[in-house]
């Protein structure tokens, strides 16, 4: 054996990181009775943080978000049939053909809506907010968006059919909420 052999660590270094629970109740004597009694022990429940940053690509849909950043609302159109998607789609679901980009009108009508008084954790601070599905003249599918400029406490089925106009965030976040809608007459 080499006299210069490196001393390998034989101990995990103690740290103060993470959660530490001191003085956990436990039987002093582990006789048969005490071991049996462990089955009645309450569960240890602890909070574990979980945080991730994803690298998300919009892929073939990227021009849509570039359009929103420039105040343009793009949809997708099947080149032969003219079937038009108000929410972008790279390929048509009927013919399988690659779609072309088209500019959609700045105004549409509300096809369906709701007012969210609760929401997922990320959106809870924004409640109440109004979700709408918008129909555009000349488009065969809808677009999910937010509606501003209406009273969330005055929800009414009469909102369906309301004309709405697109508005764009000045500081684009490159999310579909870079565009949102307001009543057209406001």
């Amino acid at each position: 054996m080499s006299e210069n052999k490196r001393q390998l660590p034989r101990k995990i270094e103690e740290t103060d990181a993470g959660q530490i629970l001191f003085n956990v109740p436990f039987p002093a004597e582990l006789d048969a009775e005490a071991l049996q009694a462990l089955k009645k022990m309450g569960p240890i429940v602890l909070k574990q943080p979980y945080c991730i940053d994803y690298i998300h690509s919009y892929g073939q849909d990227s021009p849509f978000f570039a359009g929103l950043a420039n105040g343009v609302f793009l949809g997708s159109r099947e080149p032969d049939t003219g079937y038009t998607y108000a929410t972008p789609r790279g390929h048509d679901m009927t013919t399988g053909a690659e779609t072309d980009w088209v500019v959609l009108p700045a105004e549409g009508v509300i096809h369906a809506f709701t007012v969210c008084h609760f929401g997922s954790e990320e959106f809870l601070p924004q409640t109440p907010f109004v979700l709408i599905l918008v129909h555009f003249e000349g488009a065969d599918t809808l677009f999910l968006s937010r509606l501003m400029g209406v009273d969330p406490d005055a929800a009414s089925l009469d909102w369906i059919g309301m004309k709405v106009r697109a508005r764009y965030l000045r500081n684009s976040k490159f999310r579909p909420t870079d565009v949102y809608f307001v009543p057209a007459e406001s």
């Binding site: 369906a112 709701t114 008084h117 599905l133 089925l157």
Partner: protein
């Protein structure tokens, strides 16, 4: 395809949180119950079972990848074949059908389908966020991802299109909660009124907290087998089991983004989506023709085309032409009161557009129960006799299998034995359907179970 029998099942009581056990041990509760109900010991069943299918929806909730194999080894099923299925809210229904396939194809004689979800590991609003990740994360989730919001949008369109009312929705909540009052497995056992439902906190207009199912921890297991498998089980236990057969299965799908759902013409609907009885009935054709003339398009966001196609396939394979009168009960995926009403239409219990009126007719209520409602018609085909998701809870991967267990017990006539209360036993139940449904109607399964001829 071979005949496939459902012979046994078990359900852990669904509850808000099960911190007392890990998910594998909760599954084992349901699994052990199913084995015990066969009159077999754990080693006896392990010796006979050929493999399994595991069901759970979310790796996020579990914070555990490959949870299926962890259940498989905890249940002592290694090294037998297994795989995990996932399809949102329909995960349990898909699992049931995958187990059916394993047996029907001849790959296995005895297959166990087990499923679970542990939704208590995060707070309710983080849980809603996880569930909302089952929507397009480029276009839908960032707008305000919230499933209750998505379903609420669908029902506002249904209300606008057909005049469906919030009171009609509330009837479903009252029915399912009061049914569950007699089901000891249910998470919520309350006697609510229409007023209670409407006065509950508004979640996503017009859906209140009592229009929406809750999150749960829970597990369920169902054992399916071939004729040969049945013989092996009966030889081992020395008992003869009631014959309940899977008469048919059906599945359908639709676009993940609600916005992408088509708006089909009358002719296309009639050619592709109408049930035979609808196509053949001049009154119904005229009714639909009139709807289209008023601007109705199918499926839009008000109807679940996947639910219709799953039903159509299952009915055609079973020879069912009048589902309301040929099916004795349905365990239906009522994550929302609205989706139960929409599904009445998809399943052909009534015509599209008539779901609201049908919901208050009384035809889907249990006989002999006092709902405190004025219901004009007698029960015909009880829907969610167990209380459904709204009252039983919805631990996603377990839910569709729970439906299979409750349907089996109805067809065995053993509800009283398992519930310690026979109030919910449907007299002479010979054929039942279980319906499992994923995110805004993306995956839907319908399986028909029937008492087999002795």
């Amino acid at each position: 395809m071979r005949d496939v029998y459902v012979v046994s099942g078990g359900v852990s009581k669904f509850t808000k949180a099960r911190p007392d056990k890990t998910f594998q041990a909760v599954i084992k509760e349901a699994y052990d119950y199913a084995i015990d109900d066969l009159g077999l010991t754990f080693p006896q069943f392990t010796e006979l079972v050929d493999g399994s299918v595991a069901s759970y929806f979310s790796d996020h909730f579990a914070r555990q990848l490959m949870a299926g194999i962890m259940a498989q080894d905890y249940l002592g099923l290694c090294p037998k074949p297994s795989h995990r299925v996932e399809g949102g809210g329909a995960t349990g229904g898909l699992c049931f059908q995958e187990a059916w396939k394993s047996v029907a194809s001849g790959s296995m004689d005895i297959c166990v389908a087990y499923g679970f979800e542990t939704m208590s590991h995060v707070n309710t609003w983080k849980g809603n966020e996880f569930i909302a990740l089952a929507s397009d994360v480029s276009f839908d989730y960032p707008v305000g991802g919230f499933y209750s919001g998505y379903y609420a949008m669908m029902v506002t369109r249904h209300m606008k299109e057909f005049g469906t009312t919030v009171e009609q929705l509330a009837h479903v909540s009252v029915k399912n909660h009061i049914n569950a009052y007699h089901n000891p497995y249910a998470q919520k056992r309350h006697r609510y009124t229409i007023e209670d439902v409407r006065a509950a906190p508004m979640v996503a207009w017009p859906l209140t907290r009592l229009d929406i199912c809750v999150m749960s921890d829970g597990a369920a297991a169902v054992i399916l087998c071939s004729e040969e498998g049945l013989e092996k089980l009966e030889n081992a236990s020395g008992r003869r089991y009631p014959r309940v057969v899977v008469e048919s299965i059906g599945r359908g799908t639709d676009a993940m983004r609600m916005a992408d759902r088509p708006h089909q013409s009358f002719d296309e609907f009639m050619a592709k989506n109408a049930l035979a009885a609808e196509r053949d009935d001049p009154d119904t054709r005229a009714y639909y023709q009139d709807l289209w003339e008023q601007g109705f398009r199918y499926p839009g966001v008000h109807s679940f085309r996947a639910g219709r196609m799953a039903s159509k396939q299952a009915y055609e394979r079973a020879g069912i032409t009048d589902p309301l009168h040929e099916i004795d009960f349905i365990e239906l995926h009522d994550a929302y009161t609205s989706s139960e009403i929409q599904t009445y239409e998809d399943m052909g219990l009534c015509r599209y557009g008539e779901g609201g009126a049908f919901a208050v007719s009384g035809q889907t209520f249990m006989p002999g129960l006092d709902y405190g409602l004025n219901l004009p018609d007698a029960p015909v085909c009880p829907v969610n006799p167990s209380g459904g998701l709204i009252a039983c809870g919805h631990p996603v991967g377990a839910t569709g299998l729970m439906q299979g267990v409750f349907a089996l017990w109805q067809l065995q006539g053993t509800i009283g034995q398992h519930f310690h209360d026979d109030t919910l036993q449907i007299a002479n139940a010979r054929r039942g359907a279980i319906h499992s449904h994923a995110g805004t109607g993306t995956y839907v399964t319908v399986s028909i179970l029937k008492q087999a001829e002795e």
